[in-house]
Symmetry: C2
Subunit: 571 residues, 2 copies
Amino acid sequence: MRASQLYAPTLRETPAEAEVISHQLMLRAGFIRKAAGGIYSYLPLAWRVLRKIENIVREEMDAKGGQELFMPVIQPAEMWMETGRWSVYGDEMFRLKDRHNRDFCLGPTHEEMITTLVRGDVRSYRQLPLRLYQIQNKYRDEIRPRFGLMRGREFIMKDLYSFDKDEAGLDESYDKMYDAYTKIFSRCGLTFRAVEADSGAIGGSGSHEFMVIADSGEAAIVYCPSCEYTANVEKAELHPIIHADEELLPLTITDTPGTKTIAAVSKYLGVAPARTIKTLAYITDGEQLIFALVRGDHEVNEIKLLNKLKCLRIDLATEDVITRITGSTVGYLGPVGVQNSEKVAIVADHSVMNMYNAVCGANQPERHYINVNPKRDFSPFLVADIRLIRENDPCPRCGIKVKTTRGIEVGQVFKLYTKYSKALQATFIDENGIEKPMVMGCYGVGVSRTMAAAIEQNYDENGIIWPVPIAPYQAVVVPVNAKDEAQMSLAEKIYSELNGNSIETVLDDRNERPGVKFKDADLIGYPLRITVGPKALSEGLIEVKIRRTGETSFFKAEDYIGSITQLMSGL
Amino acid sequence: MRASQLYAPTLRETPAEAEVISHQLMLRAGFIRKAAGGIYSYLPLAWRVLRKIENIVREEMDAKGGQELFMPVIQPAEMWMETGRWSVYGDEMFRLKDRHNRDFCLGPTHEEMITTLVRGDVRSYRQLPLRLYQIQNKYRDEIRPRFGLMRGREFIMKDLYSFDKDEAGLDESYDKMYDAYTKIFSRCGLTFRAVEADSGAIGGSGSHEFMVIADSGEAAIVYCPSCEYTANVEKAELHPIIHADEELLPLTITDTPGTKTIAAVSKYLGVAPARTIKTLAYITDGEQLIFALVRGDHEVNEIKLLNKLKCLRIDLATEDVITRITGSTVGYLGPVGVQNSEKVAIVADHSVMNMYNAVCGANQPERHYINVNPKRDFSPFLVADIRLIRENDPCPRCGIKVKTTRGIEVGQVFKLYTKYSKALQATFIDENGIEKPMVMGCYGVGVSRTMAAAIEQNYDENGIIWPVPIAPYQAVVVPVNAKDEAQMSLAEKIYSELNGNSIETVLDDRNERPGVKFKDADLIGYPLRITVGPKALSEGLIEVKIRRTGETSFFKAEDYIGSITQLMSGL
């Protein structure tokens, strides 16, 4: 491809609308253009990247027995009503009516569609397992689409659905997909982690998220530098911290003026935060007030708390509510003297129960208890793991101190079990002639999101740095002076030889200053730049610059192709 | 791929809903399943065919300087309002609102989108020509979707748009696309014709339709067996037929009881239909009554008549209207004595004006004129080519008798000129610094329709007969008895060797009776069937049956791969 013909309109300025680096760089480098909020055109360079990602995904799906098909984007409402998700999805679903006033949606996902399809044609265990997938546009009417392709309203997904005759089969399908995903993101040249995830609203349980590691990631991840443990911080389990035994001192109340925070009371009493008990008051959807207790230096993990309480939602209680139910004041809450009832209940983190002679609020303004000893001085309704993991907490698997990082979710694997097959009567007859619901899994890759995540992980102040396997082109040949016939002729020769050797190359034949061409090469992010200037001609050396490192090599004209191939294999 | 794992659920019965053969066979052979009226899932076999067609299309587009991109399916209403098509498209357009109540449509086509895209980034003649294309779902809310994939509401199209600086550039783009389309349908293994087409509602002028020849085609085509002339019958031009000179006899009125039709009056008077004048009465949108005259053995081409009258619509006039305006009766209409006015006007086909001593209705019940001579006895308001071409009419180019056939439109190339670039202000600065609108063309291939058309052209009573280049697999290996170890082992060997030699092969390893497997092989339409039975084992000969001809060959085990490759190259 010649740059003079390539439709990659680069911009000198960063558009004001773009908040994140991938969005900024894709606009500037001529990869995407906005059509409406969260809706983009993929220009030729982006489309090449997407097709490379798609091909990697496709090969790995096929390698695991996946069969590609293509289901409708517009889906009739009826099947969504059968599973109850027509109402659950709310405003996030794009809905429309046809000319006969029938309801349709633009598929945000395809569980209903594929389960309906398979139930019509699969009757026997002999037809299982089935692993069916597609790569296509998905739709989600985000209330605030932003971050370019990171949170769009129209985006490209690969979604595979597995149908097995039992849970052992599902486990096998799940493991195959887990393995395929590991290969996919490795082959894309990305640094990523598979994270134990909360399975969330889509249903089922047993799930991993595949996260591309990037500082701008919206998800906090904890991982163990020693064992394989990796988890979303919202999900990460924790073992109780065991404190050394101490003699139990008598419970005492004391004045602590102006000490509404843990920091303040620690300072006032001269005790470490780890020796205080933090009490947070939540109100559940059942109108019960919850006193959630964690150690003063810990944080409550609200998702864990929600799950442990088996509630639909919890919210921090307002001062009004707290005062009405307990007569106490925010800032001085504590468990001592609280009786568990339908109105109020104490939930304590495991680590709290191992504390000795601790400090906690006295449910009176400006006063705390000291020498509080759990069990002796208060009785929780529930003791559970309700705290948020932190950097340097012990790994729940091996005890080594964990580390934290941030990631962008690019894939997720789910065990759905029989949630959809039961709702939609997708059954089969097993070996013994018994009718059973199929056991399902679903497995998604955000294809367009992976492109954006690759940039969030691989860029510098000059532009994108594409990993070789998903680069739109692998190299660009830049004649310093396009009007110099000898330079152009050598550049043409190199351009043609590289393409002839399966190195996808662009020739920047534009009549622009070298600085403009170099800037565009860096911005677009070709892994290699081959510069053809006067020196190259006089000395017979081909100058090759590696985009990622900035390193420049000179290869002899006789065997530069072999040298470049070798160089690329190491990138 | 093993048939035991392949998701291709075949049906023994033809579903009642399927009216045309491609629809019936794709349902029966497990290629598609209906999700809603005109909305289908493409199962793995269909998806393989579609991807092969797509790849052929892609290669030919790229060969002509096409650059692939991918535009949104959901398009904001504003750009459609700028061109006025938001209202023009009517109920055929799927429309929806997002959560913020903004209007969108599901793209039926992308002129507005691509023109808006290009106008934002192209400023100079140096950036032209541009040829940008995509392959994606398109949407049309047909009032009565039918014929399976032939007239769906969600379907796959390739659409390329060309942007040139002048009409000479457009001509070049158009010619390149015409050539690409010829290559595409040839490479798909289809018999087709490029037809001069009426450009219709999409706008512009200068257009060819690419028609796959099939008896079930909805379009009537006329072509010359001698020269290259091919046209849609609606568009085919005709030269006037010249009759030999005759002496003009005196106009005479005569009783012709019970002769409301040309056939009846011909018989009654004993003259050939070619010596009678047929008069049809139309009413225009301007409420003018038109007496359209063609020779008695000809038919009026209403589209030509409409275009010649420059009307928006014409309808056959009701008896009431005719009687009210002319006092005459249907069945006995004629031009003699009719004065052209705002209320009524005569339009005659060229050939009518060359007739001598003809017969026509006398505008009185049960009476005709004989010895009618145009010009002497009546004066048309307009003489024009308004008749429908028939088989054996002289070719308008070379005069040889034309033939007719039927076709399915699978592609269309259009010159749009500046219709959209003017409406959307997509301008550029030319070599002289002058701002001009870009000159555009658009070029579509119905990808999913091509698959259906291929079946309409290639099938027999047993099923589909795929052309090799777009067959989902090229061969199937059928062990007669899957429980026979020696047979299965030979079948496995052949299966693996064929795939190893790039012959895409299915192994029918199902534990089914041979009859079932042969029936499925014919139904699915693999070009070659390799049968492995006891005879193959004992005699060392591989049996290969050609699906299209039913011809069976036996190849020696030592070199059967070469023989099969050779056989396939001739299919």
